[in-house]
Point group: C2
DNA sequence: ACCTGAACACCGTTCAAGT
DNA sequence: ACCTGAACACCGTTCAAGT
């Protein structure tokens, strides 16, 4: 059970990230993209933003417009002000350009949002804790993947609903993984570990559903009125719970943010459940 | 284990609903609302659309504008054409009125969407399979709740992303339940069954996360290109999977829609997991 | 090759005016 | 009391024109 200890370590790291503001996380992401951490020469370039968006002209120095720069700015704007603030015009202004200039690099707002989702999910490639071949067994690999996606969700809480709800391009790329390469990597890890086809696919589905539910819930919990220490004037000013005795009684527990430990526990439970799908000779 | 049989029966029913078009489901929902199935005189009227939206004038016969009629029409429009099609102007036109007339009954588009979410989730009150007091134990109750929500999600696939992602009003109403009354009912069922406070709250969180993940995934799977039997011209025309051998090999399994049985299995697993939270004297 | 001005169709929303 | 016309500010998007 050495893998369990590792998972706990990574949980700690995720918790530290919890208290990051969105801004530093965003700039860290932008930095990664600038460093080319997105691994440009991977299988056919598919999986990069170029898969969704047409190619756009090659990079022309720094201040020149650029598809990567546009998508990065879009992520920044959403991180700061939510999806509502992201407008073709505001995005142009943010880049020192008129809105119409963007249409040279992006077919329209919808594709822009697809690109935003792709860029954010692709941050997984830049996560050194995730982006290495499955070594210490599938459980360790899945746990690293899950924590990586959780860090992304917490770093971009305003983007994650997009990651969760944009209609997937095909039935075999499900949110929140949403990447052919990661799905391939996931399936390889499972089949190589002894899962048969059906079990591998089932594991992929269970994993996706677990992450989607947990992360969306966690992200939606942030930004709710009774947050840290906002306007504390008069009585809690919250809704009248007099008709709901159980709710009123359990309100403190319900308001607690237990998402971090719950994530660990549910993940652990999922991994145990998946282990039971292994044919007997592969038990660890 | 008698409850397991009941759950399987309800699963059959959900499967029948699976193949409904969106339109009949929508009209069935509207019918329910017209019949006043939303239970008007419940604790303080809270939980009804009036909780989110200001009261609006009392009902004035049929063709007169009305908050309930507006929300129902909005749900219909989203069911038919997706969120994009729902516009204050199109909604007005659908009701035979100019857009500006709506502002007498609805503060704005955002509140309208809140009301849409509320109306759809409140269909649970009209589901005779769900809306009865916990009788046959908490497992049966939770299973009925889960299946009821699944039916709602499948009946309104275009609305469900809203149910999943609209920021909740308080930390103790989580998607997809989103209703003080149902949360109260949930917590009562659990504590009365012997769960202590912490376990009841944990169960509520696990239940929410499970439903959110599963239903959102299932709903997003619908409306994906490789659906039933759309334009079948030339080769599958799908993305080039040559660089992803495992994906290509498992594509048939990945495209299968196993959501119904997976829902049952995961639900079963969740219930078993929750049972372990019971103090020993309450084991069934 | 790259960006912009001007324009179009369409939004949400306000408010004085109609009946 | 209830609805509408007209208007405003702001969208996404197109395209001919500028440099």
């Amino acid at each position: 059970m050495g893998a369990t200890r590792d998972r706990a370590d990574r949980a700690d790291r995720a918790d530290r990230d919890d208290r990051d503001g969105a801004a530093p996380a965003a700039s860290r992401a932008a930095q990664r993209a600038d460093e080319g951490a997105v691994d440009p020469d991977s299988p056919e370039g598919r999986g990069g933003a170029a898969a969704v968006l047409p190619a756009g002209p090659p990079g022309t120095g720094r201040p020149g417009l650029d598809q990567r720069r546009i998508l990065g700015a879009a992520v920044e704007l959403i991180d700061q002000g939510g999806l509502r603030e992201l407008t073709m015009r505001s995005l142009g202004a943010h880049l020192g350009v008129e809105a119409m200039a963007l249409y040279r690099y992006v077919p329209g707002r919808e594709s822009l949002l697809d690109g935003v989702v792709e860029v954010v999910v692709d941050e997984l490639y830049g996560d050194p804790d995730v982006y290495l071949e499955p070594r210490d067994g599938w459980q360790d690999y899945l746990a690293r993947l899950a924590h990586g996606l959780r860090r992304i969700a917490l770093a971009h809480p305003e983007v994650f609903p997009l990651v969760a709800t944009r209609p997937p391009a095909a039935p075999w790329v499900r949110p929140p993984l949403r990447s052919l390469r990661w799905v391939e990597s996931f399936l390889q890890a499972m089949t190589r570990s002894g899962f048969d086809d059906e079990a591998a696919v089932g594991a992929y589905r269970a994993f996706s559903s677990f992450l989607l539910g947990h992360l969306l819930l966690e992200v939606s919990q942030r930004g709710v009125p009774t947050g840290p220490l906002e306007d504390q004037q008069g009585p809690p000013a919250s809704t009248d719970l007099s008709a709901y005795p159980e709710l009123r009684r359990l309100r403190p527990q319900l308001s607690e943010d237990a998402s971090a430990v719950e994530f660990e526990e549910s993940l652990e439970n999922l991994l145990e459940r998946l282990e039971r799908l292994l044919p007997p000779e592969h038990g660890r």
